[in-house]
Symmetry: none
Subunit: 200 residues, 4 copies
């Protein structure tokens, strides 16, 4: 029984290895330029074995998206422990700034996936990528609402757009400094944001 538990645990662990490897490699290389062999190699698994855990390449992409969503949930979960919604939002921006070097190399993990998947004829995966961003928008709007800011949904759109757009430029121009600059402005904006003033 210990054995069987061990084996099941091992298998589950391999699934995890494949999932995180997929998230990593897909972020680095994009969906279309990544082969199953790339992911298998990164996970240290024989190619043929991948199909024991994931029936298609798309399922691996789906798993990578779920992984990114889980990481976002971790972050927002941690931030939720802060008593002040303003601090939560500033924490989000700070965490985003901290990733500037990775962003310069590979772009936004979810944003670049979403962009690539949005070009497919079949919109299934694109919708899943969209759901992750939607989740982030919702959480952000909830913080603005807690701050009693007017039009919290619009503010969330503004904030997340700024991050995604800046990351795109940071990536394209290979310039982490862009994230630093825009990040500082956003922090200052959040700091000075009063309940009556919604304009960043």
């Amino acid at each position: 029984m210990t054995n069987s538990v061990d084996r099941r645990a091992l298998a589950s662990q391999k699934r995890r290895r494949l999932t995180t490897a997929a998230a990593r490699v897909l972020h680095r290389q994009g969906v279309e330029r990544t082969t199953l062999a790339d992911i298998a190699h990164e996970a240290g698994v024989p190619v043929g074995n991948v199909y024991y855990y994931f029936k298609t390449k798309d399922e691996l992409v789906r798993a990578a998206l779920a992984e990114h969503r889980a990481r976002l949930d971790d972050l927002t979960g941690t931030l939720d422990r802060l008593p002040d919604p303003r601090e939560r939002l500033k924490g989000l921006v700070t965490a985003w700034i901290a990733e500037r070097d990775t962003a310069a190399r590979h772009g936004s993990p979810v944003g670049t996936l979403a962009t690539e998947l949005g070009k497919r004829a079949d919109g299934t995966l694109a919708a899943e990528a969209g759901a992750v961003l939607r989740r982030l928008l919702d959480w952000t709007a909830a913080q603005f609402r807690a701050l009693r800011a007017p039009a919290p949904d619009d503010l969330a759109l503004t904030l997340i757009s700024a991050c995604q757009g800046t990351t795109l430029l940071t990536h394209t121009l290979q310039a982490p400094a862009l994230t630093t600059h825009e990040g500082e402005r956003l922090l200052h904006w959040l700091e000075t944001l009063g309940p009556a003033d919604g304009n960043p």
Copy 2:
């Protein structure tokens, strides 16, 4: 000799057809999901003939990027005729809003290409995509400078980031309304922007 001129003209025309077809199809399908046959078909040119005009697929991507740059130059060139830099910036945002439905379907023409090309090991094409966005940033900064706004480079970064980020969300969430909302906010911001106030 007339003949040779005709043929050269014809050839040049075919090259243009291929270039615009490439810009169109690459925007629609992305680089990796687009085959040479797709582009040739869209241009109405036999596949084998493409190589007379473009030695590799990457050269077609380069040509598409140049096409997008030319279109941006057309736009900024037109806006440059406006006497007020504030109106020029508002014209840019208005033009961006007008493209919201295309953006919802296929994302930002340059932004999505830049994102995809940024994942390549070879950064040559990514740099060219970056140059197009850098050009737009520069033009935008010049307008803010003409407005005597403080930190015009940062303002340009803020404005273009907002557009790129909102387009990404518009594309991913298939929601043109996002562009409308954020676009109106940006127009209002530009309207109320005084020389002393740089915070959007």
Copy 3:
């Protein structure tokens, strides 16, 4: 000891489950389009366990052929209890007609297997399928012989050919009515067949 007997009985039961599942699935899907997983699933047996009972896929095919032979033996055994050989032959044809809907869907169980196996370089399994049909020919010839019909072997060939050929057409054209028509003609022929008249 009781335990070991139980386990042996259980094992034997699982073997039977696998055998009938193989007969069923191979009839439905053919040899090459059937995976071991298909058979294991139909039998409710874990895939890895199949190899405890059958060393290779071919052994499962062999078992399925044996199953079909056993079923034919059951049928002829039952018919053998009839006193009149003419009635036995008519019983065979009647049983064949009764299967027309299954035949329209999947063809003759033995005939389709034999056809597929006959294309292999290794003729071993084809020979086993042939043996089943040979057995049926022999039984049929024995009945004609008992009827004192001339050239009983040829008559058997004619009768079984008619059944197999009609089933092939019934299957290919998805038309059970073909079996009904030809079956009635065969019954009428058997009815009017005198010892002196061998022509159907």
Copy 4:
């Protein structure tokens, strides 16, 4: 221009080579056991090039079926020149007998394909195989009708069933003699068949 005609002719010729190779190999090995490489090799064509002429393996199967139909049409077309419908039918049986050695090795070209394709979930190709056999049934019935035999459709079914069934046994038992025996009986039956007597 001669060149272009030559090249087109050569291409068309290669398509033919592939088609006849497919018909040959599929008859010999069956659909599922035949790889594209097998067909390409038989045709003397590089594997990758096959896809220039046939988009999928199934299209090659379709082409092979069309080839078999064309051969049947050739045969019936030739027989149609005979003035007596009885002779035409005897010619069909004679031609069938002449193929007994091939039949013993690989079975009926159309019959075995139809049997294998009939097991697919997608019935498209099965229907096309069925159409070939239907065509043969129709031609045969037309001859019986010309002979003023009663129930010509049933007679056609009886005749074609006899051929298909005997071929199946000939193939399965590797015994060309079976075709000879049954063939002679069928010839005799056709010979003695009067307008009033439909029972073989």
